[in-house]
């Protein structure tokens, strides 16, 4: 079985983002970019499944501008066997619906038994792509996974999902789509020898046109603004003072 993992290049999670003065978006020039943390977890899970002998190949895919190749290179250094880069010129309009259609086209071509994605990208915070591609493929979905157990004989995946109020366990027939939550695993670091080795691993380039996917935009960004600032607070000196403030000033207790 082949596993396909979708990878997104995003502004590093530790960066405090700045809104551009013209309100057209968030400053991404000269800002540290990395692999989306949930995608790292997705890749780690795919690698673990391969190492357990349940999959033969891990293919990492990414959509976007040329620099996505760097992120794909990182995924190869972590252990992916090969990568596919869907290069798009109008990267700004790659909304989840478009990404899901591109992924579907890649799945149709590569025929993986499992597609793993992160549950959300930490830049647009959409939490949509996995569900959408599952819908397009008519595959079952296991979203927000915190545990994945594959059964090779029955061709099923048992997935523990983090849902409101607890954990839900589902059993999905393969092929299936899984999206990863933070607690699924601890992603590995790429070692230097593996980074060197990754340089000789293949990255195939395709365009949306070659995949017959029309990139459509259903959404117009009107403006991006800073969230309202909270007014400065005060540092108090004692518990008594805190209780007094909560009672008489804020009136919340």
């Amino acid at each position: 079985m082949k596993i396909m993992v979708a990878i997104k290049r995003v502004v590093d999670y530790a960066v405090k983002v700045r809104v551009k003065p013209d309100k057209s978006g968030v400053e991404t020039k000269n800002v540290k970019m990395s692999m989306n943390p949930f995608c790292e977890i997705a890749l780690e899970e795919a690698l673990k499944i391969r190492e357990a002998g349940l999959a033969s190949e891990v293919v990492a895919v990414s959509m976007g501008p040329t620099q996505c190749v760097d992120t794909l290179r990182t995924s190869l250094a972590m252990g992916a066997d090969r990568a596919i880069h869907v290069e798009s010129s109008s990267s700004d309009h790659l909304y989840p619906l478009n990404v899901a259609k591109l992924l579907k086209a890649l799945v149709d071509a590569e025929k993986p038994g499992l597609l793993i994605l992160g549950k959300q990208a930490i830049d647009d915070d959409c939490n949509q792509t996995g569900q959408m591609v599952a819908g397009l493929l008519n595959w079952p979905q296991g979203t927000f996974a915190s545990k994945v157990v594959l059964d090779k004989e029955n061709q099923t995946a048992t997935v523990d999902r983090e849902v409101d109020g607890g954990i839900e366990t589902l059993c999905l027939d393969l092929p299936a789509v899984i999206t990863t939550d933070l607690r699924l695993n601890q992603p590995r670091y790429a070692t230097l020898p593996n980074i060197m080795k990754a340089k000789s691993k293949p990255i195939k380039k395709v365009t949306p046109e070659e995949l017959n996917v029309h990139i459509r935009s259903d959404l117009d960004v009107v403006e991006v603004s800073e969230p309202p600032k909270r007014k400065a607070g005060v540092i108090l000196s004692s518990v008594d003072e805190l209780i007094d403030k909560l009672k008489n000033e804020a009136r919340v207790i």
Binding site: V17, D125, C126, V133, E162, I167, L170, E223, V234, I253
Partner: protein
């Protein structure tokens, strides 16, 4: 093949569609996907109705419920009375919907939409809505919008991006329907007079419902933490502990404090990862988003990802021994000190819940 030809024909006729749209924009009809538990509608689903109200003054709002048996019928009765603006309650009663699986729900939404042609479809952005709505959007070939916090017109919305560090105003320019998940704390339901007459309840016709996909996904089990405390998502007060609590044993102090003042308990990712509490208590970008009247953070540093989940709280109190902790930049009231001394003192001096 024939389908392809018809679809192409539709695409060619697109200009005609947009003409139709301009003349009908005033008619807004919304389908709200509702979650129910123990025979009543969840409050986040009622918040979705409140959000639907903001789309247009003349909005015909239908509530869609699925499930099976007496608890569904009970929930339907509750739904028919739960909000003055609900014009009808649609009920899909079948064994297929005993568990709210995305595969069945998305097909259900698609078939209801194909029949009734709503302009908008809404759900609260809990794990239920986030799981189902994007799948339904893909089946309908439209782009959904997640986590909407403000509705400024039938097709213009505000949603947070980058863990709440920027707000994005988006105009939906795609075809009908427009699919949204909304952040329930941003659309609080005012206490209102209960409506005197119940909205009509209609059964959804499931005779043509596609079943193939339903067999591919099976519910196994669900484990949940039973708790007497209020639900984290809509509690009036939330008491949160972070890594500073040091152990699961110490975290019990947070629980005790919460119990005393009638608050829900929250946690940071660090506290969850360290095993102090189960992960459904996590507040933040990837956990729950809360906006209570009072948010008390103990031993929480205030990482970007945590602030994303609580920055809209009305009053924020932070207790931390590190005076430079970022949490103090958003706190209305800060106490710099050892929480192992401060919590017991609060336990002693805070008034009991009303």
């Amino acid at each position: 093949m024939a389908v392809g030809v018809i679809l192409r024909a539709f695409r060619l006729r697109k200009p005609c569609f947009s003409l139709l749209e301009t003349t009908t924009t005033r008619f807004i009809s919304t389908l709200v996907l509702a979650e129910h538990e123990g025979g009543s509608i969840k409050s986040s689903s009622i918040s979705s109705v409140e959000a639907a109200k903001c789309l247009s003054k003349d909005n015909s709002i239908s509530l869609l419920l699925a499930g099976s048996g007496p608890s569904l019928q009970q929930a339907a009765t509750h739904a028919a009375l739960c909000h003055p603006l609900i014009s009808q309650v649609l009920v899909a009663d079948s064994d297929k919907f005993i568990h709210p699986l995305a595969e069945g729900w998305a097909n259900l939404v698609e078939s209801v939409q194909k029949k009734d042609g709503y302009t908008h479809i809404l759900a609260a952005s809990g794990s239920f809505g986030k799981n189902i709505l994007p799948r339904a959007a893909a089946l309908l070939d439209v782009s959904p919008l997640s986590d909407v916090i403000e509705i400024s017109g039938s097709h213009q919305f505000v949603r947070p991006i980058y863990a709440g560090n920027a707000l994005c105003t988006v105009r939906y320019t795609g075809e009908s329907p427009c699919l949204l998940t909304i952040r329930a704390p941003s659309f609080p339901v005012p206490a209102s007079e209960p409506r005197s007459t119940a909205a009509p309840i209609t059964q959804v016709d499931l005779s043509t419902f596609g079943e193939d996909i339903l067999k591919k996904s099976r519910f196994v089990k669900r484990s949940s933490q039973e708790s007497e405390r209020p639900d984290l998502g809509n509690a009036r007060i939330v008491v949160t502990g972070g890594r500073g609590l040091k152990s699961a044993e110490n975290f019990k102090m947070i629980e005790k404090l919460a119990e005393k003042i009638g608050a829900a308990v929250g946690a940071t990712r660090a506290a969850v990862d360290a095993g102090f509490v189960p992960n459904e208590l996590q507040v933040g970008q990837t956990g729950k988003i809360v906006a209570p009247e009072l948010y008390m953070a103990f031993g929480v540093s205030g990482a970007i990802q945590h602030l994303a989940g609580m920055r809209d709280s009305k009053v924020i109190v932070a207790v931390n021994k590190d005076a430079d902790a970022p949490i103090f930049q958003v706190a209305d009231y800060g106490l710099v000190g050892d929480l192992f001394e401060i919590i017991p003192e609060l336990l002693e001096k805070l008034p009991e819940k009303k």
